[in-house]
Amino acid sequence: MLEIKDLHAGFDGAEILKGISLSVNAGEVHAIMGPNGSGKSTLAKVLAGHPSYQATAGEVLYQGRNLLEMDTEKRALEGVFLGFQYPVEIPGVNNAEFLRMAYNARRVHAGEEELDPLDFDEILDEKMAGLGMEAKYKNRSLNDGFSGGEKKKNEILQMAILEPKIAVLDETDSGLDIDALRIVAGGVNKLRGPGNALILITHYQRLLEYIQPDFVHVLSRGKIIKSGEKGLALELEAMGYDWLTTTNA
């Protein structure tokens, strides 16, 4: 589904990703861990098409097509989803209205009719209930004044509504309280299926207890320095990254 081959990318000439290769098949869950500043969010944003970052070498194939040549909007419409580490606040834009815009954009792209606010509201209510979100978040401005955890829940709400084929969740667990983590993880698990894939960026083993990964990768200084199965996450939790980075430095 997603094939990253020797990807180099950065901004303004500074290279952050220094040759990443990763292959994600439908139905799989990959976890990416690694020290602060190692390039995890950069990878996520490059996949989503953030305009500040440029790929300088390598390629990314998504369903066999050159992902890097598609613009951001197109990638989203084709099923790529990024759950942001720091969702931006957009004052004045109603949350429910935003969700409906996104939902309808996807529908129109798929050749379906737009849903009016009433019909959409039913879907929204159901998805919000599933994530234990109160209705009051519908009428607030998008992420505006949301707490850290509320923002993360709102990201997963968007994912639940858009039902992406591949979702990259960048530290969705950071900022969630224990109960919220369980609920959010449950929500993510419901979206898993044989037809879609998930990349989880996280610092903590706890998330991986709820959402069991098939593979765990360690990203350090712009490179994947180790890959393994879910046991790797436990080792990392116990030992940190030093034993990996020092041997690889």
């Binding site: 305009p51 951001t72 989203a76 931006v88």
Partner: protein, 483 residues
């Protein structure tokens, strides 16, 4: 363009004049220049009562002694007032009995602008007075309005049919010598709208004037006078556009509103004059407008809503004089500048009566290399007890070459006053747009959503269909400015 102008002296001598314009619309245009004879000619052409000519001449004499204001935060090359024609009218000049007699090209122009004037297509709930260059060409729904005693007609017609009303109120809110551009307007205005709502009447539909400048090098000087008698209310909307020319055109309008006891006037503007070439600034309208309302009666209310998206230069401060006790003044404004447009706009709230309240919501959006200034004055007289004002003044910057400025002035000689002022500056960021796009929402829709969010409080004041128009206009203007 072949010019075959009739001269001022032709008109004064009452000779017949030649038509011969090869523009699409046959028009009659005075030769350029301004002097007493031109003013007399305008007055004579319009067959005005004596008081009107006196009014004009008084204004002209005053104007000659005045200087163009230099305090606004706008810059332009000096205007040559002798290089402007002060009268241009589409033909035929005889009084129109029905729309069939209006030049079809003119009707087509308005239809293109979304203002169909003919019986079948015209807007059901909006009466429109269409002003083409300096002259009103059609007023719809007139009869229906007359049935409830509402007068809605070109001011030139009001001067014929209701001269006493015009004489009683004209210049009482904006005196002839109020400011340079108002004095000029008072001397040379050619048409505009007149509205009178009789006591105890809720005007049964929206009234609207649509201004169109069509002829190059013609100044447009309209005059609008709205009187709302006791216990009455009216909602009025003004729209403006102009085609693209290489020369700057002067638009110096005056609008006066008078609200008597318990009367309620809502005046909305969607202004989209041509703003000139976005790179060089060539052409574009100089929009120097004086708009003022007087809450003369107790518990009266005047509310200004404006969406300013065009003009090379905008100089405009719709104001309220809150004279009656318990009267209310409101100002809701969205001013967008892009390219190298300059806008200096805002409001004045002058509290004279007791318990008078005013609120000001101003939203400035600047993009590209434009400059957007808000200038607001709240003035409370010594004996205006318990006056209150709330001002909120928000700026949004798009890109980093534009500028936004706010100049709030507060003057109060009174300790019972309550004043509140809030201000903010924000940006549409690339990060926000990326967020939308990463959800499959197009850049265009993203900008619309952010701008609508920013302008919500103002759009909410506009009649529905115009709010939609206004939103589209802003998106269109900003699409190329972000990122």
């Amino acid at each position: 363009m072949a010019e075959n102008e009739n001269t001022v002296s032709d008109v004064l001598d009452d000779k017949s004049y030649k038509y011969g314009f090869t523009t699409k619309v046959e028009a009659e245009t005075f030769a350029k220049g301004l002097n007493e004879d031109v003013i007399r000619a305008i007055s004579k052409k319009k067959n005005e009562p004596e008081f009107m000519l006196d009014f004009r001449l008084k204004a002209y004499k005053k104007w000659l002694t005045m200087k163009e204001p230099a305090w606004a935060n706008v810059h332009y090359n000096a205007i040559d007032y002798q290089n402007i024609s002060y009268f241009s009218a589409p033909k035929p000049k005889k009084k129109l009995e029905s729309l069939d007699e209006v030049d079809p090209e003119v009707l087509k122009t308005f239809e293109k602008l979304g203002i169909p004037l003919d019986e079948q297509k015209r807007l059901a709930n909006v009466a429109v007075d269409a002003v083409f260059d300096s002259v009103s060409v059609a007023t719809t729904h007139k009869k229906k309005l007359m049935e409830v005693g509402v007068i809605f007609c070109p001011i030139s017609e009001a001067l014929q049919e209701y001269p006493e009303l015009v004489e009683q109120y004209l210049g009482t809110v904006v005196p002839v010598g109020d400011n340079y551009f108002a004095a000029l307007n008072s001397a040379v205005f050619t048409d505009g709208s007149f509205v009178y709502i009789p006591p105890g009447t809720v005007c049964p539909m929206e009234l609207s004037t649509y201004f169109r400048i069509n002829t190059e090098e013609t100044g447009q000087f309209e005059r609008t006078l709205i009187i709302c008698a006791e216990d009455s209310s009216v909602s009025y909307l003004e729209g403006c556009t102009a085609p693209q020319f290489d020369t700057n055109q002067l638009h110096a309008a005056v609008v006066e509103l008078i609200a008597l006891d318990n009367a309620d006037i809502k005046y909305s503007t969607v202004q989209n004059w041509y703003s000139g070439d976005p790179e060089t600034g060539k052409g574009g309208i100089f929009n120097f407008v004086t708009k003022r309302g007087k809450c003369q009666g107790k518990k009266s209310k005047i509310s200004w809503t404006q969406v300013e998206t065009g003009s090379a230069i905008t100089w405009k401060y719709p104001s309220c004089i809150l004279q009656g006790d318990d009267s209310v003044g409101e100002f809701y404004s969205v001013a967008l500048t892009n390219g190298i447009m300059q806008a200096d706009t805002g409001t004045k709230m002058i509290h004279l009566g007791n318990n008078t309240r005013s609120s000001i919501i101003s939203k400035g959006i600047s993009a590209d290399r434009s400059s957007n200034s808000y200038r607001g004055q709240v003035k409370v007289a010594k004996n205006a007890k318990n006056a209150r004002n709330y001002s909120q003044c928000d700026s949004m910057l798009v890109g980093d070459k534009c500028s936004a400025h706010t100049f709030p002035y507060i003057e109060s000689a009174n300790s019972t006053v309550q004043l509140e002022h809030e201000a903010s500056t924000s940006k549409i960021s690339e990060e926000q747009l990326f967020y939308f796009e990463s959800r499959g929402i197009s850049r265009e829709n993203a900008i619309t959503a952010v701008i609508n969010g920013f302008c919500k409080e103002v759009f909410r004041q506009l009649p529905m269909e115009f709010a939609v128009e206004a939103q589209k206009l802003l998106t269109l203007k900003l699409e190329n400015s972000v990122g």
